[in-house]
């Protein structure tokens, strides 16, 4: 791996994060919304984003622990994607401040956020359809000499770095089972493959923290299992992961910490087991039968409960 690519961004190279210790430290944290963490990498407070009359995001305080996997869950329209947009500079909050690694990100452009080591993927995938898969991957590499105008004209300046990036890209493609598609246009990939490509491409940036917006949506079960392994290994490399996911099995399986959003605010957070047992979370998001197999239940009963809930919600 070329030195220019990694300086400052590979958490592994600093060796500062001890995954075990980080996870252990979380156990001491109270299960309250907005609870402070022992070693937060991302801290936000007072974040508000309105769309017309709607407060899409209204987060009093949020801290993300360094070196662990944090899941962000919540019903559709809770404001998870909007919060991602705010944190990564793709949208501007009406109020609030937030910082990454201690430096404020207010008014920081999204590309700078990515350069600082916080990279996100999109819920609606954004692959570059008219570029090949390997070109998509190469684009992800940072600090490329060949991306500067004058150097670009002389291949001798950037050829070596490009080859190194390609080696790295191929390794990632192997890991995400895309090696066979290497020379295909990204536009020809299936929905699930695009998710994979986007995640792999984000890793080309070598981020300290990676934010995944529904990474598993549309990915087949077998691949999901291996992806879970990859996400865990990201953590074990020392990266921080924040991801949005509706698949509770996955959340339970890999996350060290869970934050629950509803109607723009954080309503609960804690360890997976604690959160899934929280009556407010069950009420707002999971539903009473979330850990039972659907087919075993009396469908009529569920429907009745759902109806009752809907009517109840309509009142205020």
């Amino acid at each position: 791996m070329a030195a220019e690519n990694t300086t400052g961004t590979t958490p592994g190279s600093t060796g500062a994060v001890d995954v075990g210790a980080a996870r252990a430290a979380l156990r001491e944290v109270p299960n309250d919304p907005g609870a402070p963490k022992p070693d937060p990498i991302l801290v936000g407070s007072g974040l508000v984003r309105r769309f017309g009359g709607l407060k899409a995001v209204d987060v009093g305080h949020i801290e993300i622990q360094r070196g662990v996997i944090t899941a962000l869950i919540g019903p559709n329209g809770a404001g998870k994607t909007t919060l991602f947009n705010l944190l990564t500079g793709f949208d501007e909050p009406d109020e609030g401040d937030w910082s990454f690694n201690g430096s404020s990100l207010r008014k920081v452009a999204s590309y700078k956020v990515a350069r600082m080591g916080m990279v996100r993927t999109f819920q609606l995938t954004k692959v570059l359809a008219k570029l090949t898969v390997i070109e998509n991957m190469r684009l992800g590499a940072t600090g490329q000499k060949g991306e500067r105008f004058w150097s670009a004209v002389f291949p001798s300046i950037w050829r070596k770095q490009e080859d190194e990036n390609t080696v790295r890209a191929d390794a990632l493609l192997d890991r995400f089972l895309l090696a066979k598609k290497r020379e295909d246009f990204a536009g020809s990939l299936s929905g699930g493959q695009r998710k994979l490509l986007e995640m792999a491409r984000a890793l080309m940036v070598d981020p300290e923290m990676i934010m995944l917006d529904e990474p598993m949506a549309g990915v087949n079960p077998a691949l999901k299992q291996s992806l879970l392994g990859h996400v865990k290994s990201l953590r074990d490399e020392g990266r921080t992961v924040l991801f949005v996911e509706h698949d509770m099995d996955m959340v339970r399986d890999i996350s060290d910490w869970v934050i629950v959003m509803a109607q723009g605010s954080i309503v609960a957070e804690g360890t997976p087991d604690a959160v899934m047992a929280d009556p407010r979370v069950i009420d707002a998001y999971l539903g009473a039968h979330h850990d039972t197999d659907l087919s075993e239940l009396d469908e009529e009963k569920i429907e009745a409960e759902a109806m009752a809930e809907l009517e109840g919600k309509d009142k205020p």
Partner: protein, 451 residues
Amino acid sequence: MARRLVALAVLLVFLLLPTAAQAVAEGRTTAAGTPVAAEPTDEPSPTESESAAPTVPDGPYLSVRLLDEGEPVPGVTISATDADGGELGSAETADNGIAIIEIPGSGTYTVELDEETLPDGIALDDETGNTREVRAPLNGPNIVVYNIGTQAADTAGFGFQLSAALVSGLKFGLITALAALGLSLIFGTTGLTNFSHGELITFGGLMTWVFNVSFGLPVIVAGLLAMVFAAGFGWVQERGLWRPLRKRGTGLIAMMIVSIGFALFLRYLFQYFFGPQTKSLSQYTTQQRQTYGPIAIADKEIVIILVGIVVIAVTCIALMKTRLGKAMRAVSDNPPLAASSGMRVDGVVAAAWILGTALSGLAGALLAVNSQVNFLMGFKLLLLVFAAVTLGGLGTIWGALLGSMVIGFMVEVGPLFGVPSSIKEVGALVVLILVLLIRPQGILGRRQRVG
């Protein structure tokens, strides 16, 4: 496929018939045989041939076009002398403001304007001299534009000038608003940034001229017919061109480029049948402004303003109150949602095209009544219409109206406050760019969801 071709054919026939009839009816001025493999230098700007003159000598000549703030000034005697002061002859400007004087060959000449022959009540302003040196680089036609600034002979006070400018601004703003409303309706329902919209305006103006001059109908009837034809033209192009494109899933940028091609196609087709000249309607051509207290206004201007206000008001009320209007706004807001809630989106879009082109056609007709008819008249207005619509926020009705009035007043009142009057449109375009800088979504527009 076959159906689409048929629709296209219908579109063409529909377009050509009336103009062809006119061409035949009018009888053709014999073309002086200027060889066409001609000067390559003026190839990229064929539109400039606009000022070709009625009777053209075989040899080299000066074609002097007398313009007062872009308006041709007829009936003025122009004479030319060569560099040594030798008289070359004189000529009177025709309706299109052009006087043709034969010259021995390329060189530098002095053109003199006989102030005595200026129309009654106007005189050259202080900055304009009555002579001008012109270079004639060609051994053939040399086109010279003689821009003069005139002023009312009895120098009016600033208040009077302001009220005159305000009247002009209101009139111009309303005409722009009609066209802008049309553009906005179409943009709102289809997302198409239509660069051929200028030609829709021209279409209205040309049709008015065809019905009025070729068929001898009164201007008012001709204007109404032009509006109806414009509406039909809108429907035909929606069915024959834009709807099939939407059905193929053509992207908006691709459609925008298609509209550019369509604009070029129409513009030259218009010139083909109508000719490059600027022509007048048969009635209401020269009307003096009359004074009512502090304002001076011509009768036809009153009518234009009233028609503008009434039509815009009726359109807005219809958009607010009727089911169709509400449907249009629903489609503008969210086409997929409107479709999924059982709305006939295609029908609504067709209605928007019909209404939009009718309004633009009316704008063209009013422009024709206000001044004259030319195949470039709509194209010249297009950027101002864009400016108006962008100023208010693309796709919003009220934004289009507001923007148009701002543009109208700016263009007409600007010269009073130091904007050079020969480029008074520039101010409006500068404002357009400034607005884009400060508030890209326009004054009344909304931002879109990212990510």
